[in-house]
Amino acid sequence: MIKPRFDELIHAPTRLAIVSLLAASEWAEFKFVRDSVGLSDSALSKQLTTLEEAGYVEIRKGFVGKRPRTSAKLTSVGRAAFEQHVVALQEIVSKAGASVLPR
């Protein structure tokens, strides 16, 4: 059973979007995350660095042929924090009853 823990770092809207994408994937290309969330390269880099510093995200830089390719993945620490955050959110909603469930 996952213990609920509200995570302020993850809850920020942009980071929540990034971490949610990464939670469904083993790894994701920088370009995919950028286009999915609708951020500029620099804005995404900044958010990924914040998550990386917290130990939530691992960033890999490599080459496919001569083209540089950057990808990101959620670390086990990041995945655990995300799952605990989701449980915390579910707890807040369930305490309030069904009236606030999203459509």
Binding site: F6, E8, H11, P13, L16, A17, S20, L21, A23, A24, S25, E26, W27, A28, E29, K31, F32, S36, F82, E83, V86, A88, L89, Q90, I92, V93, K95, A96, V100, L101, P102
Partner: protein, 159 residues
């Protein structure tokens, strides 16, 4: 901080989490056109081979190989943007994929050999046409089932 988050805000955050994970899952779903394209290439290839004319067979093989490489390359390239988490598909999803392949191949061969035994002309073409029909009908159904499995297995589960 969690005390400051209103229930409706938490509900919206959960909805966003599900939507973002659905974005990843949707990238891995093979589009409907792919099944039609592969089906058409299979039938075209079998029809070309059945003519037994070297020039037609050569063109048929070329079109088939280039077509399969182009279609599959497009799908793979799209899927390489993000690798979906293995746990989302689960053992049930993998069994479904293997079962689908086994049914399509097995049924196509059964049709072809049955027609050959009955002396019907063009059994290979008929077998391939049957296999193509299975792909066109079954491919999107398979993708729908896999998508539902992955959506149910994502963090936060189904809505």
């Amino acid at each position: 901080m969690s005390e400051q988050v209103r229930p409706d805000e938490a509900a919206k955050a959960l909805a966003q989490i599900r939507d973002r994970q659905e974005q990843v899952i949707n990238v891995t779903v093979v589009p409907v056109w792919y099944w039609w394209a592969v089906g058409a290439l299979m039938v075209g290839f079998a029809a070309a081979v059945d003519t037994r004319r070297p020039a037609v067979v050569g063109v048929g093989i070329g079109v088939f190989v280039i077509g399969i490489l182009a279609c599959t390359g497009w799908v793979v390239r799209r899927a390489l943007q993000v690798q979906v988490r293995g746990g989302l598909l689960g053992a049930g999803g993998i069994l479904l994929i293997l079962g689908f392949v086994a049914v399509v191949v097995g049924a196509s061969l059964a049709v072809a050999f049955s027609l050959q035994a009955a002396g019907v002309p063009g059994p290979a073409l008929a077998g391939n046409a049957f296999g193509a029909a299975c792909l066109v009908v079954g491919g999107p159904l398979l993708m729908g089932a896999l998508r539902r499995i992955m959506l149910a297995n994502r963090t936060g589960g189904t809505r």
